[in-house]
């Protein structure tokens, strides 16, 4: 398949692996920010091709993982109301809150539907004028434009039975939180290609300068990732800390300006809580005042839920690159994809789930309930 096979080509992968091995003179610790990249690294075994001196840490870029548990609880509560059709991307459906997950809500009679786009949810709202249709608007800068477009269209077309439950988060503040943390080990970043396709990469330039770390905007196929790693390592070895673009077939420096404008029109920057990490200032998006009536939290009058997370879970440290999944004593034992204790075991993009699925030590049982 064109644009796929070239980037999963064993020869090209080995070529970059050899180039990296030839280049590297000392240990380096890199972080891939995006959960999609984590998934690809573990699924294809990209890290197996790297010299031992290169350590890859897995970053906080899994939208499912970082959505706060109280928001899941709110989603479950809204979805169980008889007048509601609750719509969501597929991988949010299985994420457990403290009161079950959306799939359980569906089984108990809630009208929960998986959609591929918030615009599909808007269409459902149009077709069901007597129902409240709610879309679970999660994700990073990548999903923000489509979600903004859905709300924008709802307002323009006066589809008043539509609302969104917002949990949008932003990448650069999370990276800054990691870089400014005293325990930071990350020396270079693979920036998330699809986020940058929307917002460009000018925001990383001050970060690279301030913290003297290289960034390479990187794609999601194994050869993309190996090339991205090569470019970061080359900068590190040469003592440079710049922002470079490996994913030029999708990403321009300034990003997608109309998409940014739409996001800016609909959303405003707000503080957000990240599951496993906590509150990060200016790290998320919320609806602007003129769109506030499409905010599901306001529409359904949901107040803040206080929620306790499992104390055995170290997902916060995993998300910040301080620990690897298998360094957690609960990994694969108390905590499995069937019984996740925390965020990173929940989504297939979560580092713990990816390790469990593709890297589990052989003594772990395959079937657990």
């Amino acid at each position: 398949m064109k644009y796929i096979d070239e980037y999963r080509d064993a020869k090209a992968a080995k070529k970059y692996a050899a180039l990296i091995a030839h280049l590297v003179t000392q240990p380096w610790t890199l972080m891939e920010v995006c959960g999609g990249q984590t998934h690809a690294i573990v699924k294809y075994g990209v890290d197996e091709l790297l010299p031992e001196s290169i350590t890859l840490l897995h970053g906080p870029g899994c939208p499912v993982c970082v959505t706060p548990v109280e928001l899941i609880d709110k989603a479950v509560e809204i979805s169980s109301r008889p007048d509601v059709i609750f719509t969501s991307f597929g991988d949010m459906l299985r994420v457990p809150g403290t009161r079950g997950d959306l799939l359980s809500s569906k089984a108990a009679g809630g009208d929960v539907r998986m959609v591929y786009s918030p615009l599909d949810a808007l269409k459902i709202a149009q077709e069901n004028p007597h129902k409240q249709v709610v879309f679970f608007a999660v994700g990073f800068e990548t999903t923000a434009p489509a979600n903004a477009m859905a709300v924008h269209q709802a307002r323009q077309r006066q589809i008043e039975n539509f609302s969104i439950l917002v949990s949008h988060v932003l990448v650069p503040p999370a990276i800054e939180a990691i870089l400014s943390s005293p325990g930071n080990r990350v020396q270079g970043f693979l920036a998330a290609g699809h986020v940058c396709a929307v917002v460009g990469y000018t925001e990383y330039e001050p970060l690279a300068k301030k913290y003297q770390v290289p960034f390479v905007v990187t794609g999601f196929e194994p050869v993309d990732i190996l090339q991205g790693i090569y470019m970061v390592v080359k900068q590190l070895e040469e003592g440079r800390a710049e922002v470079e673009n490996q994913y030029a077939r999708c990403v321009r420096r300034e990003g997608n300006l109309p998409a940014q404008q739409l996001v800016h029109d609909v959303f405003t920057i707000v503080p957000r809580k990240w599951r496993g990490i906590g509150q990060i200032p200016q790290s998320g998006l919320g609806l602007r005042e003129e769109y506030a009536r499409f905010d599901a939290e306001k529409r359904f009058g949901l107040t803040d839920y206080g929620v306790e997370e499992s104390s055995a879970c170290i997902s916060g440290q995993v998300l910040q690159g301080m620990k690897k999944p298998h360094e957690c004593p609960a990994f694969g034992k108390l905590c499995t994809p069937e019984h996740p204790l925390g965020a990173t075991m929940v989504s297939t993009e979560g580092a713990c789930a990816a390790y469990y699925r593709y890297r589990r030590p052989v003594e772990q049982p395959l079937i657990t309930l």
Binding site: E48, F89, F140, E338, R360, L369
Partner: protein, 361 residues
């Protein structure tokens, strides 16, 4: 069965802290999900959990415990295979087949995976009030055509009608018996280190044909279900004297789940090669767009055969032009399936919990 009846059911909603928390007595030993989810029917871990915790210990008997696609037993001088399956599919008609062809071929294939020659099927219909008679007629006609193609007869059946809104048009159950005319034990327990793993064709077509219709996706050429009877292919292998160790048709849960089930049952490590697994371009494209992994997508005319390595080439030729050698059985150091990825690294192939859920971005 008393524990599954009436008022003494007590459901725990506590999250378990370890697998050993469960006992096999009452109350019903499911912790996280006190009600049935769609995911319990997906062919993944949740469904296997249901079988292991509720069904197998309750109905406990040696035939059931082989956990094969059908039960194999002797009756008089005859060795028979017996299997059943229920069919719920939306849409009822899809490119390459319909619920009728699925209902016949599915049970025929389960019998074939026991190494049996399928003979007779039953057909149970649950019809929803309001179903157009023409739809029912088309399904019945297509069942008869599929039965003729597979060399079986539908010899008994049942019809029930449920209120409008309580069915999805038509549900079908078929059961079948077949006769076994060889002395091989075709089961995971017969798999041996060194066995070749053969696959009879490209994977993922049935699941993606259904998804394409449901999601309104159009491709350059329509993806057609691979729905097909497999008995003749298996019987040709047997007639040629291939010493088949195990067979598995790759329905719900796809190739990955089928192989994981066998590795687990056999207690052996299976190693496969990603680049050897045929997937047509349209299926790959559809999977990329929808965020699905073709290894877990359903098939209705695909099976894997475990045969001794020295018979692999011969068997592959008999299985047809599209058949491929996709891997080999390793030793008993683990009961995992591992795969050499496209870029040459190794990883585990796991069974999913439930349905594949597309990723956000």
């Amino acid at each position: 069965m008393s524990s599954m009846n009436g008022s003494n059911i007590s459901l725990s909603t506590q999250q378990s802290t370890s697998d050993t928390d469960f006992t096999l007595a009452c109350p019903i030993p499911i912790s996280d999900y006190p009600i049935v989810l769609m995911a319990h029917g997906s062919g993944g871990k949740l469904m296997h959990g249901l079988l292991e915790k509720l069904v197998l210990p309750t109905f406990s008997n040696p035939l059931l415990e082989t956990r094969h696609d059908g039960a194999v037993f002797s009756a008089g001088n005859a060795k028979l295979a017996f299997s059943t399956d229920s069919y719920v599919v939306h849409p009822l008609f899809f490119p390459g087949g319909d619920i009728g062809t699925l209902a016949v071929n599915g049970t025929v294939n389960d019998l074939a995976m026991c190494g049996a020659k399928p003979l007779y099927l039953s057909a149970g219909f649950i019809l929803e009030e309001g179903l157009p008679m023409d739809t029912l007629w088309r399904v019945i006609q297509s069942m008869q055509r599929a039965a003729e193609a597979a060399g079986v007869q539908i010899v008994t059946g049942d019809t029930k009608v449920v209120d409008r809104g309580k069915g999805d048009g038509i549900f079908i159950n078929t059961a079948g018996v077949g006769v076994i005319e060889h002395n091989l034990t075709i089961a995971p327990s017969s798999v041996r280190p060194g066995d070749a793993v053969l696959l009879n064709g490209d994977i993922g077509r049935h699941g993606m044909a259904i998804m394409a219709v449901r999601e309104g996706l159009a491709f350059e050429s329509e993806i057609e279900s691979d729905c097909a009877p497999l008995a003749s292919s298996v019987l040709r292998l047997l007639d040629a004297g291939i010493e088949i160790h195990c067979l598995r048709d790759l329905t719900r849960g796809g190739l990955a789940s089928g192989l994981v089930e066998i590795a687990e049952s056999a207690g052996l490590h299976i190693q496969i090669d990603e680049t050897a697994i045929p997937i047509i371009e349209d299926v790959r494209g559809a999977c990329e767009i929808l965020g699905l992994d073709p290894l877990y997508v359903a098939n209705e005319g695909r099976f894997v055969a475990f045969v001794p390595a020295d018979q692999a080439d011969h068997a592959r030729v008999i299985m047809g032009d599209d058949a491929r050698l996709i891997g080999t059985v390793q030793d008993n150091s683990s009961n995992l399936v591992t795969m050499r990825s496209a870029i040459g690294a190794n990883r585990i192939v796991d069974m999913l919990s439930g349905d594949q859920l597309p990723r956000i971005c």
